[in-house]
């Protein structure tokens, strides 16, 4: 008789542990660090250390908030320009990934069932090999004496090398290349579950395939489109490695600015403020991503 409550109690304590461990882990490594960034963004550099937020010099605590870094970001046109240009490149990358990835995911979902696991593995395989090395590979392809220019010139298609490196072209090639699998995978997951009978019903009712695609397939894959777009857009805004290796002086990206503030200028409050503004910019897309994820899970259940 008293076995049941005991069992329930054991389950309950196990339950607490199972929730408590990941909670503590993520609180320590995600929530607290972000709060610390926020705190440091509101302080200033005093010689080599950071100013204290709570000042005890008068014998009682006074809260010292320093908005200097934020004012500097707002007033300096370089920062504003860099944020806008990061958003611009992230948006263009997202659109290109969607334009290339959507048809791909659609065709992949429609290809013979027995081929699909292999097609999927071929998409994942480059994703498993080092991202850094693949970006480096584009460098060898795109430079003015690079592989593509050499081939085009030896074939006589062009006389002088095309300027494909250290500009917005090379940056976008690198970004689309790196983020395309992140677009294709959620879209494929979504499109492969699409009930083909809707399309057959539409065809029976006389809808043209093109119209059926826009009226049925696209709306039904909305969660996949949003999830894929956000998986591309959000990290692309803060991308550092690709602009550093493939970008040029004209391709301003905020990830590089943050890096330089931290590593070259040693200005931690400034780096933290740049990060906080970046977080604010991606907060809305992140909420959209979480919502789309939840919808996809519900659709699956």
């Amino acid at each position: 008789m008293n076995k049941l409550p005991q069992f329930a109690r054991k389950l309950f304590s196990g339950h607490k542990l199972v929730i408590g461990i990941p909670y503590a882990w993520f609180a320590l490594l995600v929530a607290i660090p972000i709060l610390i960034v926020l705190k440091i963004s509101l302080s200033e550099m005093e010689m080599t250390s950071i100013s204290k937020m709570i000042d005890w010099s008068h014998g009682w605590p006074t809260l010292k908030l320093n908005f200097a870094s934020y004012q500097f970001i707002a007033s300096d046109t370089l920062y504003v320009k860099t944020y806008i240009s990061s958003l611009k490149y992230a948006i263009i990358t997202t659109i290109l990934c969607l334009a290339i990835g959507y048809p791909f995911a659609y065709f992949m979902a429609r290809s013979p069932k027995h081929l699909q696991p292999m097609l999927l593995m071929l998409i994942m395989l480059p994703f498993w090999t080092s991202f850094l090395l693949r970006i480096y590979a584009w460098k060898t392809l795109l430079v003015s004496n690079g592989v593509i220019n050499n081939i085009l010139m030896s074939l006589g298609i062009i006389d002088a090398p095309l300027a494909m490196m250290n500009n917005s072209f090379s940056l976008l090639v690198g970004m689309v290349y790196s983020y395309l699998p992140f677009m294709i995978l959620p879209l494929y997951a979504n499109l492969s579950k699409l009930d083909i009978r809707y399309l057959e019903a539409a065809a029976d009712l006389g809808t043209s395939p093109f119209k059926a695609f826009w009226l049925i397939t696209v709306p039904l894959s909305k969660a996949g489109i949003i999830a894929g777009s956000m998986l591309v857009f959000i990290p692309a805004v803060g991308e550092f490695v690709i602009p550093e290796l493939l970008g040029g002086p004209s391709t301003l990206m905020i990830g590089r600015v943050l890096w330089d503030e931290f590593f070259s200028n040693n200005d931690w409050p400034m780096a933290a403020s740049v990060a906080v503004v970046m977080i604010l910019l991606i907060l809305v897309p992140m909420a959209m991503f979480n919502k789309a994820e939840a919808e996809q899970v519900e659709g699956k259940a």
């Binding site: 995600v30 065709f107 696991p117 060898t140 290349y177 943050l258």
Partner: protein, 281 residues
């Protein structure tokens, strides 16, 4: 007619995407066997960059450091990721679930520079307060384990979703304690997912350059950090050789593990079918 032309279009679209994805990788491999110091101009085949690699002690020690970090952080990621997946999937209505699920998806989408900066500032605060940890292997490990946990949680959750919870219930009805249910029933069923989570998080760690740069201290350069600093300076044929070696290792590992996974899957299905047919007898 129309049907076949649309099929040709679909095929060429897919082939074009695969060419785009594989072109840089193939170039890396081909030019790693180039004798010329100029990375992009083919002279003749040679393995001189591979022998240069063997004498590159900086790079070799970086590779060993990266392997060590990747192995340990993948273990940690699978451990914490499994807990996260269970908390999010099995107990799906507790207070603060939304907070946990958004914290768990933050490292997936948040730009690396922000994750790196925030972790470093947190670790520096802790260091000022407690006197440790010193920046080095441990701090890099922590950063990679955080990133890996988020990915491992996704992999394990998707497996938990497919799993038949009646098996757990049956075990409980037969008198298993919750921990026994986990070790005897759930864990064996989860094993393929844990293996793929381990491989994925191992690769993520082995590939990371941004978090490592923020979190490492003097004397701790991982392989991507060494490659990145060389690639920033220009093209370097030893990078092609390193790339080829890693590509071969990873391809073999991925293909082997996917064969293993599909084998396990078939075996599991067979056993399930057998179990159900026994019941009917």
């Amino acid at each position: 007619m129309n049907h076949s032309s649309s099929r040709i279009f679909a095929r060429s679209w897919m082939i074009a995407v695969y060419v785009f994805l594989y072109l840089p990788i193939i170039t890396l491999v081909v030019f790693s066997f180039n004798d010329s110091k100029l990375v992009t101009v083919w002279s003749h085949a040679s393995t001189r960059w591979y022998s240069a690699l063997l004498n590159d002690s900086d790079l070799i020690s970086a590779v060993f450091l990266s392997l060590k970090i990747a192995f340990l952080s993948a273990l940690m990621s699978v451990f914490f990721g499994t807990f996260t997946a269970f908390a999010l999937h099995r107990y799906n209505s507790f207070r603060g679930r939304t907070l946990l699920s958004s914290m768990a998806s933050t490292p997936l989408v948040m730009p690396d520079v922000i994750v790196g900066l925030s972790l470093l500032l947190m670790l520096v605060s802790v260091q000022n307060w407690l006197g440790f940890p010193e920046r080095g292997l441990f701090t890099i490990l922590l950063g990679h384990a955080l990133l890996g946990t988020a990915y491992a949680a996704v992999v394990v959750t998707s497996r938990l979703r497919e799993m038949d919870s009646r098996l757990d219930e049956a075990a409980m009805d037969l008198g298993c304690k919750p921990l026994q249910v986990f070790t005897l029933v759930t864990l064996p069923l989860l094993l393929p997912a844990l293996v793929s989570a381990f491989l994925l998080t191992f690769t993520l760690s082995f590939d990371d350059v941004v978090l490592s740069s923020f979190l490492s201290g003097p004397g701790y350069s991982t392989m991507p950090m060494v490659i990145f600093s060389r690639a920033r300076l220009g093209l370097n044929p030893t990078i092609n050789a390193v790339a080829t070696v890693t590509i071969v290792v990873v391809t073999v590992a991925v293909v082997a593990s996917s064969f293993y996974q599909s084998h396990q899957e078939r075996k599991r299905k067979r056993e399930m079918a057998l179990a159900y047919s026994d019941k009917n007898v």
